[in-house]
């Protein structure tokens, strides 16, 4: 069951990700990205990380992507023009793409030579309680530093927007 769902949602994630790049209209791209976020949340869930899955949906799909959609709506960003591309370009780009993917997989292979296989249902520390325990005892410093990061983000956002308004 888990394996079927994994392949289904992994496929949705990959197809949506490709769609983000392929679509001409920014709204279509943004919504495909929401699809990627949603299927990633399901993948987290399959691995047992419930809280991360929910956070993924709330923060990425529910907040950051809303911001994207908002900006597209506000700026009236239209569909992009398709660039003229000949077959030569495609012929050169395809091998490069294959080369790039090969390189990335090689690096991952070398970087984690003894990575254990993922087993569904093995990880059980993903509930909100476990996350809370880890976050507020062992990882307290990163948590507190996050607030500074958020503060910087507030200042950055307000400064940028103020410039726009004046």
């Amino acid at each position: 069951m888990d394996a079927i769902l994994f392949f289904l949602f992994a496929a949705i994630a990959v197809v949506s990700a490709i769609n983000v790049v392929v679509q001409r209209h920014p709204i279509s791209s943004a919504l495909s990205l929401v699809g990627v976020m949603g299927s990633l949340a399901v993948l987290y869930l399959l691995l047992g990380a419930e809280f991360i899955a929910a956070a993924q949906m709330i923060v990425y799909a529910g907040a950051i992507m809303v911001l994207f959609v908002f900006v597209i709506m506000l700026l009236n960003a239209g569909a992009e023009k398709s660039p003229r591309k000949g077959w030569i370009l495609t012929a050169v780009a395809m091998p490069l793409l294959v080369l790039f993917l090969g390189m990335v997989s090689y690096i991952i292979q070398r970087g984690f030579p003894n990575a254990p296989l993922v087993v569904f249902g093995q990880f059980t520390g993903g509930s909100p309680k476990d996350v809370g325990m880890a976050l507020f005892t062992r990882y307290l410093l990163p948590f507190e530093i996050t607030s500074v990061l958020i503060l910087i983000a507030i200042i950055g956002a307000v400064v940028l927007a103020r410039k726009e308004m004046e």
Partner: protein, 118 residues
């Protein structure tokens, strides 16, 4: 997958099918006699002078970006709230530090007028 999600998924599939079926069913039984005037944008009656695709105020953008920022803060408070009773005063101290830094940011943004609509 953790326990309990399967019924939710099935229910979500039903919830997805319901509007699809309703809208398709409506398509099958409804009459359809469109003509040019009927299909125009709903306006005051005179032909629309400009496209609706204009640019709108930056306020909406500020609201959205502040929402993203504070939403991240809020989501951090949930694991804390769940674990609160076993953390005790230590938990209070942790979140006080976290919130004070953010309240400073909020007050600053408020003073700058970023939260003012007009």
């Amino acid at each position: 997958m953790p326990e309990g999600y399967l019924p939710i998924f099935v229910f979500m599939v039903v919830a997805l099918l319901f509007p699809v079926v309703a809208i398709v069913a409506a398509k099958l039984v409804r009459p359809s006699s469109p003509f040019a005037t009927k299909l125009e944008a709903y306006e005051c009656g005179i032909k629309a002078a400009s496209s609706s695709r204009g640019r709108y105020t930056v306020r909406f953008y500020i609201v959205a970006i502040l929402f993203v920022i504070f939403d991240v803060e809020t989501i951090f408070l949930y694991p804390w709230a769940v674990r609160y009773q076993s953390l005790g005063w230590f938990g209070v101290a942790e979140v006080t530090v976290f919130l004070v830094i953010l309240v400073v940011g909020y007050v600053w943004a408020y003073k700058k007028g970023a939260l003012q609509w007009v």
